[in-house]
């Protein structure tokens, strides 16, 4: 209970807090990912044991949903909407520019591991497209110039 912060293991805390939650698997996985950035293999094992599920079941859920990651994320995750409303105002070109700018032209993640550019299917900003989200922050009416400002701000951060 009164363990000092250094000793607290996030997976244990999450599992404890959901003892009485019905159908708790999604909230548990979300909270583990919030704490660790992804869902490590050993967490899958511990979640399975704690919930009386097979590892395959938990693994199946982790891989089924687009949100859950089995690997640590890049330092900055840029999610660009490529759904219809954003397409109608140039999302496709924007995605190309974003990829190019962050060194992700050929692959999802930049060679230095700092950036990843991922598609997302609608952020609910469809009247103000094109839209994107950087590390959970929303940006709409995006242009190449506006993205350049965001990109240089990311570069300045360590």
């Amino acid at each position: 209970m009164a363990a000092s912060p250094v000793e607290v293991d996030p997976v244990t805390v999450v599992l404890e807090s959901h003892r009485n939650t019905p159908g708790a698997l999604l909230p548990i996985l979300h909270e583990i990912q919030d704490a660790l950035g992804y869902i490590p293999r050993d967490a899958v094992v511990r979640v399975a044991d704690a919930m009386n599920l097979s590892r395959a079941e938990v693994h199946g859920v982790v891989t089924y949903y687009h949100d859950f990651r089995s690997e640590p994320p890049a330092r900055h995750v840029v999610q660009v909407c490529r759904a219809e409303a954003c397409q109608s105002v140039g999302a496709e070109a924007l995605i190309g520019q974003v990829r190019e700018r962050l060194g992700c032209a050929k692959q999802e993640r930049s060679a230095d591991g700092r950036y990843s550019v991922e598609p997302v299917y609608c952020l609910g900003l469809c009247a103000s497209g094109p839209s994107l989200m950087i590390d959970e922050r929303l940006h709409a009416r995006m242009t190449q110039e506006k993205f350049e400002q965001l990109a240089s701000r990311m570069e300045k951060e360590s």
């Binding site: 979300h30 299917y121 609910g124």
Partner: protein
């Protein structure tokens, strides 16, 4: 000097274009100038091209300015923003802006007006009066009121809401659930999000009334993970409603209990399908269940469950407070009441427009929307999300009505309207539809899982050009028969409706598919 109230929206669509920065700049610069202000973070009025839309309370009512950037703030203050003075960005009295003034806002009446998380503000504008009335009625009387209002589900399938509730009420079992579908996966739609961010108590009130009607004691709101602000808003509103006695052991003095919690989805479009959503809340992969059994009888954890869309629940409080007849008086045919439409894509004045059924697409696109944002001609309009058809111009004067749309092979769905200008290539959009289906398919049925990937390949072969005309028409035939198979052999609307955008694109825009001979419209739309 007297303190002036200034409104700066905190809706996602305002935050995404800098509303927080504008609010901070106002606070600091008014402080520097010794101008006392109180900033209220309201929801959005839905005039989204004007966001961030700053409003100032004056003796003559609220005056609007937008779109405001941080750089505009000093000039606005110089001009006399706090007195509602003229400025290039001044839009005049907000409630007189025609876009807003001509709407029929029943569900969105409060959105954008006040602090969405203030119960006092909510009650000052008729909030919780529907629930207070429901708490004095027995469950059959509540259901009768909703049935008589003519309300149908706003999530897409338009099923009569009262009938669904009645099935759950009559089902046997000590434990029943109310589940809100807030997955809002359809691109081009955002009315659920605006409701949850802009008037969360309305959704809570609607769900609490439903719980009394269906005799359910527990509820979930399943919200897509792409909506972090809606999730935060609902969690806070639930806590406040519980503290104020509108949720919990004794809902609004009814003596009945109802507990509500939020579930965050995990980025799977198909989990908006109601049975896949139930699987997901139960902690499983979101695979569509076969029906029967109906979720109304065996739903969440196998128990009787009411599932409705956010807007369906949000329409209920006013039906209870003003009566079934008041609501039913809006609309046409069997489509009663109002629908919050979402005007999106390449549109000059995009936003939320709540109108009675019967409004036309042409009115929406031109009278409200002002045509395309690019200024080029409108080429294509997709109604009803990614599974909706491209509605040809010859049908833009058809009154919006579930039956009329079904008759022309289209669907209103969740009320999303996405406009494309003449630079759009409809074969690319058709290909995208198939690709999207392949990405999001739950995998249960072959026509959807495999057919969608085949669809991408066939469209690629059609548009490749250089192929002999005979072989191209063979490929077109193949695409049509593939669509037929998907339409008839899919368990849910993802596989069964993806043919709508694909075939309507093919039939109306054969040139985009590099088809020289006109494609003969055979299948629906």
């Amino acid at each position: 000097m007297k303190e002036v109230t200034v409104y700066v929206p905190k809706d996602s669509a305002a935050l995404a274009v800098g509303a927080n920065e504008v609010a901070a700049a106002l606070q600091v610069q008014c402080g520097d100038r010794g101008l006392p202000i109180r900033i209220v973070r309201n929801g959005s009025r839905g005039l989204l091209w004007l966001e961030p839309l700053v409003e100032v309370a004056t003796t003559g009512g609220r005056v609007a300015y937008g779109p405001v950037t941080v750089d505009d703030v000093p000039g606005l203050l110089d001009a006399g923003l706090l007195e509602g003075a003229p400025h290039a960005l001044c839009q005049g009295a907000v409630e007189a802006i025609p876009y807003l003034a001509t709407q029929e806002r029943l569900t969105f009446a409060r959105v954008g007006v006040n602090d969405p998380l203030s119960i006092t503000d909510y009650e000052a504008l008729d909030g919780f009066s529907g629930l207070r009335r429901a708490a004095t009625l027995d469950s059959t009387a509540i259901i009768e009121e909703v049935t008589n209002s003519g309300l149908r589900g706003r999530g897409g399938a338009a099923f009569p809401t009262g009938i669904k509730w009645k099935t759950v009420r009559l089902a046997e079992g000590p434990q029943k659930y109310v589940v809100c579908n807030a997955d809002e996966g359809d691109s081009g739609t955002f009315s659920d999000r605006m409701t949850m961010e802009g008037d969360p108590f309305m959704l809570i009130e609607g769900m609490a009334i439903t719980a009394l009607a269906a005799e359910a004691t527990e509820g979930y709101i399943y919200i897509r993970s792409e909506y972090p602000h809606a999730i935060a808003s609902m969690n806070e509103a639930i806590a406040r409603a519980e503290a104020a006695g509108f949720l919990g052991d004794d809902v609004a003095g009814s003596g009945k209990s109802f507990r509500l919690s939020v579930r965050k989805a995990a980025g799977a479009y198909v989990c908006g399908e109601e049975t896949a959503m139930l699987e997901s809340i139960e902690g499983k992969r979101g695979i569509v269940r076969s029906k029967p059994p109906l979720p109304a009888l065996q739903g969440l954890f196998g128990k009787p469950t009411v599932i409705n869309n956010v807007i369906t629940f949000a329409s209920v409080p006013i039906i209870l407070s003003r009566g079934a007849e008041f609501y039913r008086d809006y609309g046409v045919g069997r489509s009663r009441g109002t629908l919050p439409l979402q005007l999106a894509g390449n549109i000059k004045y995009g936003g939320l427009i709540e109108k009675a059924f019967g409004v036309t697409l042409r009115q929406l696109i031109y009278e409200y929307g002002g045509g395309t944002r690019s200024g080029r001609p409108v080429k294509a309009v997709q109604v009803g999300g990614p599974l909706g058809a491209y509605v040809p111009e010859s049908q833009w004067d058809v009154p919006l009505d579930y039956e009329a749309y079904a008759a022309m092979g289209a669907a209103i769905g969740h009320g999303g309207i996405v406009v494309h200008d003449d630079t759009a290539n409809l074969s690319k959009l058709a290909r995208y539809a198939m690709e999207y289906c392949a990405i999001e398919s739950c995998g249960k049925c072959t026509p959807c899982r495999i057919g969608s990937t085949r669809g991408v390949e066939v469209i690629d072969r059609i548009t490749a050009g250089g192929t002999a005309v005979a072989s191209q028409s063979e490929q077109v035939e193949l695409l049509r028969s593939l669509c037929d198979t998907m339409l008839n052999g899919s368990l849910c609307a993802l596989g069964a409706m993806i043919p709508f955008p694909v075939l309507s694109a093919l039939n109306q825009y054969p040139a985009d598919f590099r088809i020289v001979e006109p494609a003969h419209p055979r299948a629906a739309s």
